[in-house]
Amino acid sequence: MAMVIRCFLTLLLFLVSTHLTSSLYEDQVGLMDWHQQYIGKVKHALFHTQKTGRKRVLVSTEENVVASLDLRRGEIFWRHVLGTNDVVDGLDIALGKYVITLSSDGSILRAWNLPDGQMKNLKADKDDLILVFGKGCLHAVSSIDGEVLWRQDFAGESIEVGHIIQSTDEIYVAGFIGSSKFYVYGLNAKNGELLKNDHTTLPSDTFGELLSVSSDKFVVLDNMRSKILTIKIKNGKISYNQKPISDLNKDSSGQAVILPSRIPELFALRMNSRVLLIKVTNEGDLVLVDKINNAAGVSDALSISEGQHALAFAQHEDSKIRLLVKDINNWNDDLLKESIIIDNQRGNIDKIFINNYLRTDRSYGFRALIVMEDHSLLLVQQGEIVWSREDGLASVVDVTTSELPVEKEGVSVAKVEQNLFEWLKGHVLKLKGTLMIASPEDVVAIQALRLRSSEKSKMTRDHNGFRKLLIILTRAGKVFALHTGDGRVVWSVLLHTLRKTEVCKDPVGLNIYQWQVPHHHALDENPSILVVGRCGPSLATPAVLSFIDAYNGKELNSMSLTHTVAQVIPLPYTDSTEQRLHLIIDINQHAYLYPRSPEAIDILQREFSNVYWYSVEADDGVIRGHALKGNCIHIIDEYCFDFRDLWSIVFPSETEKIIATVTRKSNEVVHTQAKVMTDYDVMYKYVSKNVLFVANAAPKARGEIGAATPEEAWLVIYIIDTVTGRILHRMTHHGCQGPVHAVFSENWVVYHYFNLRAHRYEMSVVEVYDQSRGDNKDVWKFVLGKHNLTSPISSYYRPEVTTKSQSYFFTHSVKAIEVTSTAKGITSKQLLIGTIGDQVLALDKRFLDPRRTLNPSQAEKEEGIIPLTDSLPIISQTYITHSLKVEGLQGIVTVPAKLESTSLVFAYGVDLFFTQVAPSRTYDSLTEDFSYALLLLTIVALVAAIFVTWVLSERKDLQEKWR
């Protein structure tokens, strides 16, 4: 057996060394991978439909994307993803051909060319001023060259500027100091000179934002939210009056909120599910215009002609949505009244943007861009949804996978392949391709055939395990299931536990877990998924759970818990229906067991003394270890357990701050515990799941790169046993700092950091070996099976460990690191590095081998050790994203396929990308372009040849005998 493996490994090594890079041919793009582009939840939208050219809508989103979409089909014309901290505050079209964006709290102004999205210097014939306000400072920017003409600083006066009123030669800046003092400054538009100012103290504190109703009138709520303050500015003088809401609306229960829709002379006030439209007269009086029940959203006003403004709002009506467009000045007749059926999994309407167009009969038609609760974007025109985009997928919170249903019997091959003729034709085409006799048309046909192969998008489990469901939890609280074959949405569900309610004000989805993975005896049950959420961003808010059927997306069960959630620990035990036991730990360090069944308690009681838990308190620099103690004392609940503290590691706060922790994936499979060195020496890997890698940085060097000198920066890394709290390894990198990205797999950890002395990024590898097993060297013990290497071990044996480590320079800065995972763990590993350019680079683990030396011996070379170099090579063919970019890359997920050589990789950010990687090539299967037809042909030819020669020899024999 060992010999066979050695033969096999040698062969493998041979193959690997001959194909050092595993790149992709041009015609293989899109065969196994797919890429989807999204923009995220739309914040601002501007229609650009005046010109006869392509109609488009410009949007800026919460994912800091500025994009131009095709109004006909919803496709992206161009798109720019600004950095994570570069929040887009405003969007406008200037001079009809530039898109202006203001971002990063108003500190960055950019202009983009409208047709193609190129960044532009503003060029204009007229000398127009662009006024920009940001960080307490008003800037006037010339529209000719983007130069700042003047600036006026208000930051010193701690004024929170709310609005800027512009007239021909005077600019008024209005805002609050504190929440009740209102200030107005008048500035000269030419040079920014301060002309006059006025201030007044309002009778009460204010609530919420100041809303401008017209150029000189503002409304704001008082802090009791029962009165409306109307502020009027005339020639720099402030006057105000107030009116209780109850005067306008008798039934004034509930909290009032002023909606931020900009409507001339009007404003919208939301109370419960009702929206009041209130008109502000020239005298500053408030008049109620309309009450809208079940209102879902109110758009900004749209100026359709001189003095005519339209306003759109939507109402929910059972399963339909009623869209109404009204003329503001002529409230009683509707410009448009439409009912639209929208999938109820999209939730409520969040925002509406309207645009008008001229119908053939010279009347106005309206189209509305609707942002839904699940962040999807719809374009509605003439009562129908023209297109929709699932932009919730741009903000992925967590990802897990699920198997597909097992294929039912009785599905014949012919049915799958449509018909035999097609099948035969396809194979003939392929054969032509192999024999290089295909015409260019045939080549195109072959490519099309390969791309739309029905095999990869079937809804059943396949033999190789390539087809799976990717279950994705998005920030909007919607769960999507994507098919790995082609990336289509199989089902999606908006979890009602993650929707805003009175009880749960601001729910957030936290994580997603595999709750039930049936195999063996529970195969007839569908797998299910657990979604853990919380009723608000604070840790102290109660938790919510949802259980979803992974095959059809039905919500099986949901719970609003009384306790909080600080951590979720999936235990390595399952009950008789294959439901995994989970411990949910709240902020008071009680553990709650799920599923809540007596059987689960039995299972936990059996393993009671073996369940440990640790908490990393990054702010205090403490890591604590805990063990289960018994049922809760203060809470009467048999599913509640107390912990006792076992150990704690306190890092010196003046020299070290925790900046990164990483642990092994719980589902990782390791094939062997031994590592064979050259000269048949054996080292035993320290393969334990209970290890934690911690990276600490010097407090001064926690910030940006360059903030600290090399002398005051250091990085200390620890490898800690999380059962006993024992520090297995500690190492200091002087002159280095974070950010640290790390990945832990088998017995090694690879981490990425910045070396201040060398001014370069570095990657280090640490491999941990179990020294105490090293004396198992007697062959006869193994021959007779008299060793105890596979008997269960405990961390309390305190095994002696040794480490090997090495550092290499690496060119890129990194957004995420992941490692490939395969079904049995035999295949060599590749590191998947999400680079700053939003691509994913595959780097062989062999490059990060601590045993690399300058001149490896012949034996070491045979083993595959690469000569030492100071930096890691970046081979452009190993970008698994090839020419594509996963904009705003956040994370990489790897899942093993059933085929040992292959690992499935899913990278997400604003875009989604999925592919398969085979770190040691697909040694266990024929490649996709293998020509079965050629094989068949060869066999047929051989059989025919055998038959012919047999006949010939028979004949010759006969002649011989007659002679």
């Binding site: 057996m1 060992a2 010999m3 493996i5 050695r6 033969c7 040698t10 936290l510 994580n511 853990v532 919380r534 840790l539 959630v565 600080a566 951590q567 979720v568 620990i569 235990l571 390595p572 902020i587 393993e607 073996n610 369940v611 440990y612 838990w613 640790y614 908490s615 990393v616 270890g625 922790t661 642990t663 719980s666 094939h671 062997t672 515990q673 031994a674 064979v676 048949y680 054996v682 035993y684 890997k685 393969v687 334990s688 799941k689 209970n690 934690l692 999380t722 059962v723 198992n776 060297k777 062959v779 193994f782 021959v783 290497l789 596979t790 008997s791 269960p792 071990i793 405990s794 961390s795």
Partner: protein, 178 residues
């Protein structure tokens, strides 16, 4: 009928006359000038001589057969030296044939010496030599196998697929969910 029967009974085997059989043709007088005594004497000495020669020849042949693997051994040694010490198709083929030949030869030791089986021929010696030489060939094959590194004589050969030990404790946790 009776006579015929008798004729048949006694003469049925008479079709073949064994001239060397002295006893049956005693009633017929010898032809004149034929001296039986001299022939008898001559015949026996001749056959003894012949048998001696044959057994000598057989013994000689047996020794030759026994020594045949030696040539094979030398040949194999040369081939192995040619094949080198890296694992590839050629060296594996040669090594396995070097292992297979002695084994198959050892299996058919009896059959190999069958033609030389004689009461007077001592076959033990040749057989032992044959077996020894074949064992030598086998040893050479095994040595080659070892030289190629295909024999599981090192610890590394036995632990390369040793599954990691199960852990008694389970621990998990981390930073609080943000």
């Amino acid at each position: 009928m009776e006579k015929g029967k008798g004729l048949m009974g006694s003469g049925g085997r008479r079709w073949g006359v064994d001239l060397s059989d002295n006893s049956t043709s005693r009633d017929i007088p010898d032809p004149p000038g034929f001296s039986r005594a001299s022939l008898d004497q001559d015949d026996s000495s001749l056959s003894r001589q012949k048998k001696d020669a044959e057994s000598n020849w057989k013994a000689q042949k047996a020794w030759e057969v026994a020594q045949a693997p030696l040539k094979n051994l030398l040949m194999m040694g040369f081939m192995m030296w040619m094949a080198g010490s890296t694992v590839h198709l050629f060296s594996i083929g040669i090594t396995f044939s070097a292992l297979w030949q002695p084994i198959s030869a050892l299996q058919s030791v009896g059959k190999m010496f069958e033609p030389y089986k004689d009461n007077k021929v001592e076959l033990l010696g040749p057989k032992l030599l044959f077996i020894a030489l074949n064992l030598g060939g086998l040893a050479l094959g095994v040595w080659k196998l070892n030289a190629l590194g295909l024999l599981p004589t090192h610890t590394s050969d036995w632990v390369s697929s040793l599954a990691p030990a199960q852990e008694v404790e389970f621990s998990s946790g981390g930073v609080n969910l943000g």
